[in-house]
Symmetry: D2
Subunit: 319 residues, 4 copies
Amino acid sequence: MSEQRELVRHIAHLSHLELLTPRAEESLRFFRDVLGMEEVVRQGQSVYLRGWGQYEQYCLKLTESAQAGIGHTAFRTVSPQALERCAVAIEQSGYGLGWTDGDQGHGRTYAFLDTDGHKFEIYYETEPYQAPPHLRPALKNQPQKYPARGVSVRQLDHVNLLAQQVEPSSRFLQDHLGLRVSEQIVLDNGTTAGSWLYSGQKAYELVYTVDAKNARGRLHHIAFCVDTREDVMRAADVLIEHDLDIEGGPAKHAIQQTIFLYTFEPGGNRIEICSGGYLIFAPDWEPITWTQAERAKGQAWRTPTIASFHTYGTPIVEE
Amino acid sequence: MSEQRELVRHIAHLSHLELLTPRAEESLRFFRDVLGMEEVVRQGQSVYLRGWGQYEQYCLKLTESAQAGIGHTAFRTVSPQALERCAVAIEQSGYGLGWTDGDQGHGRTYAFLDTDGHKFEIYYETEPYQAPPHLRPALKNQPQKYPARGVSVRQLDHVNLLAQQVEPSSRFLQDHLGLRVSEQIVLDNGTTAGSWLYSGQKAYELVYTVDAKNARGRLHHIAFCVDTREDVMRAADVLIEHDLDIEGGPAKHAIQQTIFLYTFEPGGNRIEICSGGYLIFAPDWEPITWTQAERAKGQAWRTPTIASFHTYGTPIVEE
Amino acid sequence: MSEQRELVRHIAHLSHLELLTPRAEESLRFFRDVLGMEEVVRQGQSVYLRGWGQYEQYCLKLTESAQAGIGHTAFRTVSPQALERCAVAIEQSGYGLGWTDGDQGHGRTYAFLDTDGHKFEIYYETEPYQAPPHLRPALKNQPQKYPARGVSVRQLDHVNLLAQQVEPSSRFLQDHLGLRVSEQIVLDNGTTAGSWLYSGQKAYELVYTVDAKNARGRLHHIAFCVDTREDVMRAADVLIEHDLDIEGGPAKHAIQQTIFLYTFEPGGNRIEICSGGYLIFAPDWEPITWTQAERAKGQAWRTPTIASFHTYGTPIVEE
Amino acid sequence: MSEQRELVRHIAHLSHLELLTPRAEESLRFFRDVLGMEEVVRQGQSVYLRGWGQYEQYCLKLTESAQAGIGHTAFRTVSPQALERCAVAIEQSGYGLGWTDGDQGHGRTYAFLDTDGHKFEIYYETEPYQAPPHLRPALKNQPQKYPARGVSVRQLDHVNLLAQQVEPSSRFLQDHLGLRVSEQIVLDNGTTAGSWLYSGQKAYELVYTVDAKNARGRLHHIAFCVDTREDVMRAADVLIEHDLDIEGGPAKHAIQQTIFLYTFEPGGNRIEICSGGYLIFAPDWEPITWTQAERAKGQAWRTPTIASFHTYGTPIVEE
């Protein structure tokens, strides 16, 4: 039987990411024309983009930058009180960066770093998306028209950050945001090589995996979801027509059971298109731990993992 | 902007149903051979059955009875404390039936009626499913082997109860279990004709729709989910090979956007096979309200709804 | 055992159709933006359009006209000799219209009428499609890039003509083009209500069904195929986003087992999106005959057929 | 423009294969319980099995043998006359083995070897399958009930033979059976490394690829088809639940564009589950030729091909 402590939930969901690209125009064309996202607004060096299925204004802030990588990761809290609680606790941890008035589409925001140096933002107040006439959906329970253009991703699914040390990074978000571990990889030497974190029933929103280059603050990939595994195969067809490389997949992850494919946007960041997986219903879910030997068996269908998958991240670092 | 009150969540998820059948052997064959469920155990007049994807022991208690209908609907709470909280509140409401030591696979249980007379049970302690050798899955994050037999339903998805008056029934579960409304139908005369309730991110687990026969305590249908909408079409192929009627679908619901089909198990209860829909990420989700005129447009793809769908429920009542 | 006569095959495949529309611009937008077809060329009052999967230049000649309906139906023969053989036989039948030098993309052509007054063309010489740079495919065994725009139909699948009398019309194409019957509906009074004709392994390319308005030369629908039945459901999602009516489906035909949906292009012609069905491998295939009673059971999944499906055709005729 | 010679077609379709296995009982369980085929009859050391979609009695004759490999490959001709024509021509070639009265389910048969030593049989007379009561289908245009058991393969799709020299083997079947080449691999040194052969609109039924072990008469794989690419992914899920290895896939072939996966039956023979591809409509189809460089790019989605795929065949030969 599980522990008798009550759940305290602070985070409602992963809401958006800021992605850095040295090739802003080409990256924009990728997200808009190949992935089928809509441009919401431009501000300064950034373009804000959205998938058709999300209720907030955007899930991707694409920012021109000297190097590829992740700008920040944003979560929405379950309440204003939860936002305050998290901010206080993080402030005390010494990793806080302080409050701002917020960015496009959302209100007062608290920023901080994780122990590996990735920047995060949390907020509660948000301005729900209102589709302009040409993007009004047929069904009132859908935020935006299905675009039927390119991959037509539904929304942001998760982010996978690289960390020099997975365990402290994951622990930090567990302790300060109340995220929980759904699955993890623990090596024979006892170190954690991967940690999948979730806040609600969706089984993961943020993943830490170990940085083979021993760097800090890097990005492994960001993922957008589609509705069916058939859509992931169609995405592969779409990508090759655009002469884009598919690093791996379509195949099925052993961990989380998601159907996936990996490609790269022109700025150099790895992008996943995914579908499926499972929901976590048990309030007393125990993390599923994969050993080094189990991990070595490859993906669910025994698909071998490509070498670059274990080493490449953004920004690119010297050996 | 939404209200500033914090969420209090009591219920983790819909966990199982007791279904009553006057044709126990034939109903069992339907759930086992056509839907692909596994028999877990038999006790008295009941057989306990499960889908391959659930972490608890069973999701269906099939009980021989003079008439078809629903025996009870069970929810697991998020904690022992939540169970106590709910029990106290319901006891005060006068709808409580009291505590039992629990049924197969779960512990101490509080039973009660809703305002329409349907029986409910809530509990926290559960014994997770341990697959016997012949049902051990290839992947450790899956509770049971995928059977590849018949429809191969993953798990219980939701239950749709008929109510003489939808609003008080829905309000009762909102007030006492903390369930929330994701979508609803409000008629021109101001009465609620349908109310979709949820507890976590899954957008509905229990639905009340109005009983056209003005009866009380009846069942409209129970639903089992499959992973893809392709699977729903395959289910249709499977059902016709067993000479079973398909009342409606495969098609796409406007409300909730689920891909669905309806059939009947031999005992007379309506069964839905479904897939898809959406998750609710917003902590301040506002119920989506469909008017009488909007509802009259049919399902998402304009599929007209079959007449029996609006009138048939179990047990069957005289006109 | 089947008859011992050798097959003589004249027709290679249904190649294109001329569709008449009183709303040329809107029809063009439908085929290009909603169905995802490419415009190949314009000539006079006609626009020539293609699906991504066909080896010839186009499959649809869209011609502005006072009324909706079918202009002509074109078949490519298996050889120049077959073209001559067919032309001679048809000339003798009295239904010949004579030779022309051909139309866009194909050579010398023989035109004729069927016994119901629909116009046909047959030819052998064709100029295979050469994709311009922006439409070059990733795979050399594919004629054109997959557009990932709207429904993205692969190619023309079949045409369904209405006939005052099905049997003589079908017999005429069997006798003069060597087409064969794969399935048919024979009413209790002995008349044929539907006849599905094929030339190769694809199980139907042209269908005659009886015209409930007792008119002549009308069109029931033309059909474009997609690769999977999942694509047909996605097509339904795309159509409703364009506020287009879905007359029936997605569902599965009993006859031919095709997954289908029906909609209308702005000119008023009925359009089917379909997938699946079967190939005919048996050289001695015997037509499958459906009785009136079998037909009354509805489609494969027992889906009732909408009333307009039995009465509406183009051009629209007065009662 | 293509040549002006008329097509002469002798072969209707690939009809069945005899597969040799040293582990007859385990192989039988694989085809019946994992692939979902039905046992039709047993004779001597052989069990005859079928997929639900084929009109003849069986597509697989599974024969106990000291070694794995292919027994014979059978084609049905388009007519009795075509059978005689082929037999006469092959007899003259010196590769004939003579006539027999036929095997289970089909009549008089002519046997011969190809230039690489693989045995073939051709026949015309066949006894169509009549489903027993428990396998009667819901739809009269389907030969057998869809079993919904395991992978539930529809029917035999194609056979891939290994040949010491691809070109003469392929040429032999082109010349004597009238098969044609749809796609091929031609190496930089001018030799043909792979040749895909077809008889009707289905784009390949028999493939020769070069034997890396320089042996003769071996088998690369036999393939069974399912209806959708979703089904191929489901097949992968089914195979891993049976602890069977997936050698490659699910992925998409560049050549032929088929969605595929490869596994091994317990006797050691490689088995493909496939779906999709295209039909050949052009009567003057020109073979598509892939160069060594193009072939080195991997499959359609850039999936690298596993090493064993290039070397393993049955029977296994010493290095």
